[in-house]
């Protein structure tokens, strides 16, 4: 399915975490493992916006961290322009880290609260070796690109609104002249009236700079609006992939259908809530879904032992 020479590819990527339950299990090395990402293969074309949708715990953020190499996969390969990312060293590795940038959900905690915006951007630029007058003019350009007034440069992050902070987060990523932007829930902390502004900004950057964007969100409607391709993730796997039209109007996977059915739909959704709490669809879903670890399972075991 995946042809060589593609822009950004994931080959059967896995990330396992060991659940440390107790001393005995640790000693006998039989501690159970959970696969946060369970064999994901993807090919993202250059200059597109790829949407990754799923619920909390489905592994979408883990996948994002693997893409930007914040964490290494347990198995599988990430290929960037045909090169195995895990084998990059020295200058090549640095080039990759610059080329693939991340925008975080909570720009409030990803920006140093004690540094003014100018310094946040200047530091990013200095990582690329840009300083002095060149940095000053580039900072002005970055601010314009993300639609911020340069008057905000002397502010601290807490003096900005959530939307403005998110724009700073994007500007900081752009400072590295990236090829790929991995945006992990960039709008979920924002009010609905501001979400569109940030999504539109990402779309503009995609169009104007040819930036490839991986947009990760739990909100199917937001992703469907902005992306050319969507992957739906559940329990560490991509369960559905297609264009927004395909995913919204002819979903194949039961989880995608459940996701679509759960989205509130205003007046049209009135009174549909009166159905019994546990529907057959939900039962089907539960059997598909990996047990949500650790909360439910451990809770039960623990309660049993206390009883």
């Amino acid at each position: 399915m995946i042809q060589p020479g593609h822009f950004f590819e994931l080959h059967d990527v896995r990330k396992e975490y060991v659940l440390r339950r107790g001393l005995l299990q640790r000693l006998t090395r039989r501690a159970p493992k959970v696969a946060a990402v369970d064999g994901v293969s993807l090919s993202i074309e250059r200059g597109t916006i790829f949407g990754l949708v799923g619920e909390s715990g489905c592994g979408k953020s883990t996948l994002a961290q693997i893409m930007v190499r914040l964490i290494e996969p347990t198995a599988g390969k990430v290929l960037y322009r045909g090169a195995d990312v895990a084998r990059l060293r020295g200058e090549e590795e640095r080039a990759y880290r610059h080329a693939v940038q991340m925008v975080f959900q909570d720009s409030g905690s990803s920006l140093n609260p004690r540094k003014r915006i100018r310094r946040v951007l200047a530091e990013a630029l200095s990582a690329r070796g840009v300083g002095g007058a060149a940095a000053r003019s580039e900072i002005a350009t970055l601010m314009r690109q993300v639609g911020l007034d340069t008057a905000l440069l002397h502010r601290f992050p807490h003096e900005l609104s959530g939307g403005q902070r998110q724009r700073v987060g994007i500007a900081r990523a752009l400072a590295m002249k990236p090829e790929v932007l991995v945006a992990d829930e960039p709008v979920s902390a924002l009010d609905v009236s501001l979400q569109g502004q940030i999504i539109n900004l990402l779309c503009d950057l995609n169009r104007e700079l040819g930036l490839t964007i991986v947009l990760i969100s739990h909100d199917l409607a937001v992703v469907a609006r902005a992306c050319t391709q969507i992957g739906v993730m559940n329990a560490g796997k991509i369960v559905e992939r297609g264009t927004p039209q395909q995913v919204l109007f002819s979903p194949v996977d039961p989880f995608t259908r459940q996701l679509l059915a759960s989205v509130p739909r205003g007046l049209a959704g009135r009174h549909r809530r009166l159905e019994p709490d546990i529907s057959p669809a939900e039962k089907a879903l539960r059997s598909v879904r990996q047990p949500r670890l650790p909360a439910d399972e451990i809770g039960r075991q623990r309660s049993a032992s206390i009883a």
Binding site: S193, L267, A295, A304
Partner: protein, 327 residues
């Protein structure tokens, strides 16, 4: 809303001209600037607005659990015939949790982390009601079953952190309804949850309140969710109710431009592409001086009149909009 047409004859909760001030440095700034709101027995009223609109402070003021830097600066909160504003701490304690219960966005901070959830419900039952030990245990199981928790006998021994987000919200609801309240205030109860879990929790809330006939004040920024479960809705902007009516009216024939633009911004699963609709600009900061209509700087229908003077309330039976252009 003083018009009797929109309000059933005897509201359970009637908020009248509520003002809440917030401490900004040395001075107090009004962040809730004259809110009128009423909830009839058994009714579900939605309160919608963006962050900073004052919706949560309004909710907290009903139970008088405002943060220390906020205080009620005026108005009345009449619950079941008694004005709660200025009530003694002792008298308020009697009502809090018994007549009026509240569930929050984050159950993990609302539940005690070191006490099993069943014990927390037990304590609430024994505090608010004359109920024996055995009867209380049975009642806990009944309550947990009511909110859709299976194996309640086992689950009541669990600590909050051992439960998933949806489960915790169910436990908090069980705790809230344990004292048979007349009013349940739900402040963004599903905002932290996944949509599939949200759908189930909302289904549960709707069933529970129908079974018990509880009135609900449902606070959310999610208009689509409000539309699904509320009878009436009030839209707040910059500390004021700017539009209020039956939920169908607000969604089908909104009179306030803010409501209209907010409705347009909701991302929908309609397969539309292209730029997303947005409301330009930002809501006013709580410490800024407001002249004229606070929404005017972001409004595409604003005129000089809107920027100069505060708009009057436009009223029709059962419908209110605070806008110069609504009339």
């Amino acid at each position: 809303m003083r018009q009797p047409q929109s309000v059933p004859p005897k509201p359970l909760l009637h908020i009248d001209g509520l003002r809440i001030a917030f401490k900004a440095g040395r001075q107090w700034r009004e962040v809730v600037r004259g809110v009128d709101l009423s909830v009839a027995p058994g009714e579900v009223v939605g309160l919608v607005g963006e962050s900073g609109s004052g919706k949560s402070l309004t909710a907290l003021s009903i139970l008088q659990v405002l943060p220390p830097e906020a205080r009620i600066a005026g108005g009345r909160i009449v619950f079941d015939g008694t004005n709660l504003v200025g009530l003694s701490r002792k008298a308020m304690n009697k009502r809090r949790g018994r007549d009026i219960a509240m569930i929050f966005q984050d159950p993990l901070t609302a539940l005690n982390p070191v006490i099993p959830v069943g014990r927390q419900i037990y304590d609430s039952l024994r505090t608010h009601q004359t109920i024996g030990h055995k009867a209380a245990l049975e009642r806990i199981q009944e309550l947990l079953e009511m909110v859709g928790i299976r194996h309640p006998r086992e689950r009541m021994r669990a600590y909050p952190h051992e439960l998933s987000g949806g489960m915790r919200q169910r436990v908090m609801t069980a705790l809230a309804i344990s004292s048979n309240p007349k009013l349940l205030i739900a402040d963004e109860p599903t905002t932290a949850l996944d949509v599939t879990v949200q759908a189930r929790v909302i289904g549960m809330l709707d069933r529970v309140r129908r079974d018990l006939g509880i009135a609900v004040l449902f606070i959310s920024h999610n208009l689509e969710l409000i539309a699904e479960i509320c009878d009436r809705v009030s839209v707040m902007y910059a500390g004021k109710v700017v539009e209020s009516s039956a939920v169908e009216t607000v969604f089908e024939t909104p009179r306030h431009p803010y409501t209209r633009q907010l409705l347009r911004c909701i991302p929908r699963l309609d397969g539309a592409s292209g730029p997303m609709p947005t409301i330009p600009g930002l809501p006013p900061r709580f410490d800024s001086e407001l002249v004229g209509c606070p929404f005017a700087p972001r409004c595409d229908e604003a005129s000089d009149r809107c920027r100069a003077a505060e708009p009057p309330a436009w009223r029709e039976p059962g419908h209110l909009a605070v806008c110069w252009e609504a009339a």
